[in-house]
Amino acid sequence: MNTAIIAKFKLDYGDFHLDIDVTLPSLGITVLYGESGSGKTTLLRCIAGLKQAQNGFLSINNTVWQDSEKQLFVPTHQRALGYVFQDANLFTHLSVSDNLDYGLKRLKTAVDPTQKAHIIELLGISHLMSRMPEHLSGGERQRVAIARALVLNPRILLMDEPLASLDSQRKQEILPFLMRLNQELHIPVLYVTHSKKEMALLADYLVILAHGKVDAMGLLSQTLSRVDLPLSQDGQASCVWEICIAQHDHADHLTQVDFSGGRLYLPTIPLAIGEKRRVQIFARDVSITLDMSSQTSILNRLPATILDMFTDNSGQAVISLQVGSDKLLAHITQKSVTQLNLSVGKAVFVQIKGTSLLN
């Protein structure tokens, strides 16, 4: 057996049928993405044991939590997991401090007390410890909920749309914490969301669910660039690149950043040299040329190879390209495909009109 999350569930719930068989990485953030009713929350609840699938097998890094064939079902309170609910779900009769200690008191093996202090500091909630949940803002509540799950030193962290009930300002308040968690945690995180932005920002691995089944799954960049998926065909289709701040050109108000295929010029990013971030490049902002010679106002022009193409009868084409070790999507017209004589494997140049920094 290998260290991974193996989850197989079959569940009938009225009209809804969940039929899942996935093997997920044992590190990093896996985003379970789908529209409402796709079964993503149900899958998460099955993994937590809050819902019992009639037929199921679940193993987290070789610890089996459910095996219907052997009549094995470990109840939720005996699973070493952390769960963050959509609306925090703090105990209203306990202070923040007591909420954090509720699970700690019930652990069989004591955890390193410095870890709790570290998590409180990481989530910036030390000044809230004596408050009651009713006197917290939505964002603060959610940070306490995340801390409450993490202090137990869980083997897996399950997050059910933790930002969905917050306004965009509060979301912005929590996202940096989530990004830091990703760098500091050494456990798998399953993150349920229907927000493309959260998915692009946080996912290392992506599982797309629809109608209780897995539509597609794989590394984020690979899955986003699959031209056969609806995700790459709508107006918001995009790819995500990891970038590293390389140089600031103050006179031009530009920042040079490195990525796997070379260097990009972006509008000034107020971050120190060497900082890493993600940028999102929308397919509608990418165009294709056959040579580098022509004069253009577009700064970011890169050599690329066509990996795959998808055309339907709408006159539009979705092209996926390899740039360095990254993938890129371009939305162009079918007429352009014909005029430029584009085909899979052809070497071209891409022009990137705009990027948006994810943070």
């Binding site: 044991g49 939720t76 309170h77 609910f85 779900n89 009769h93 509720y102 699970g103 019930r106 137990l152």
Partner: protein, 228 residues
């Protein structure tokens, strides 16, 4: 003024009401919890049975209790065989009948409080390593204190005020089964109106004060109705 016989009935009433309330809280809490959480198909019929004392005339309840607990009744035969004698016209019989009579007044506030909690805090507790029993004591009971307060007060006050069941099962035995409500009846029968006033007025004042106190303490009376 009150006579020593009146004081005896007051003391007995207090004993019956406290014993009844304690017993009902002890057995009613798990029953109320089960009724709120269960998916059992028997939930409806059991809810109907435990709510019966709300609508039945106390004399009907008392009559059947008298028969069941009596020498030839099912429970009466059992208690006789166990060497306990029969329960009618004893303190124990009075407490048992009061428990049945006041059961819905304890159950319903608890059921209302438990269902208001919903399953979300229970799920949070489960993800934080708390077993179901642990969750009940550390979360459910803490979140339903007003329900417990209402149940205690209503159970106690309603037992103090009972008459029909007491008369049928307990009778009218001084110091043994004669409670305040029966004593008031005795006074009225004997045309001792001023004696009746002292007791009846006292009971009225007691009931009013205790309900007033209850509604002042329970924070959101609208969310904790006496009956669902």
């Amino acid at each position: 003024m009150l006579t020593s016989a009146d004081y005896a009935t007051l003391f007995l009433t207090f004993q019956v009401a406290s014993s009844t309330t304690l017993l009902l809280l002890f057995f009613g809490t798990p029953l109320a919890w089960w009724l709120v959480r269960t998916q059992s198909k028997y939930k409806g019929i059991i809810n109907a049975i435990v709510a019966l004392p709300l609508v039945l005339p106390p004399t009907v309840l008392g009559f059947y209790l008298l028969i069941i607990l009596g020498k030839h009744g099912i429970i009466g035969q059992l208690t006789t065989q166990l060497g306990l004698g029969t329960l009618p016209f004893t303190f124990a019989g009075l407490v048992i009948s009061s428990c049945l009579y006041s059961l819905p007044f304890v159950l319903q506030p608890l059921q209302t409080a438990f269902s208001a909690i919903g399953s979300r805090p229970l799920e949070a507790a489960a993800t934080l390593r708390a077993s179901p029993l642990d969750t009940f004591f550390s979360v459910v009971m803490r979140l339903s204190t007003s329900g417990f307060l209402t149940a205690t007060v209503l159970g106690f006050a309603h037992t103090v005020g009972e008459f029909g069941v007491v008369l049928m099962v307990g009778g009218n035995i001084p110091d043994k089964t004669r409670v305040v409500s029966v004593q008031i009846y005795n006074h009225v029968e004997a045309l001792e109106y001023s004696q009746a006033h002292w007791l009846a007025g006292g009971l009225l004042l007691f009931s009013f004060c205790i309900l007033w106190l209850l509604y002042s303490i329970v924070k959101t009376p609208t969310s904790t109705p006496l009956f669902k």
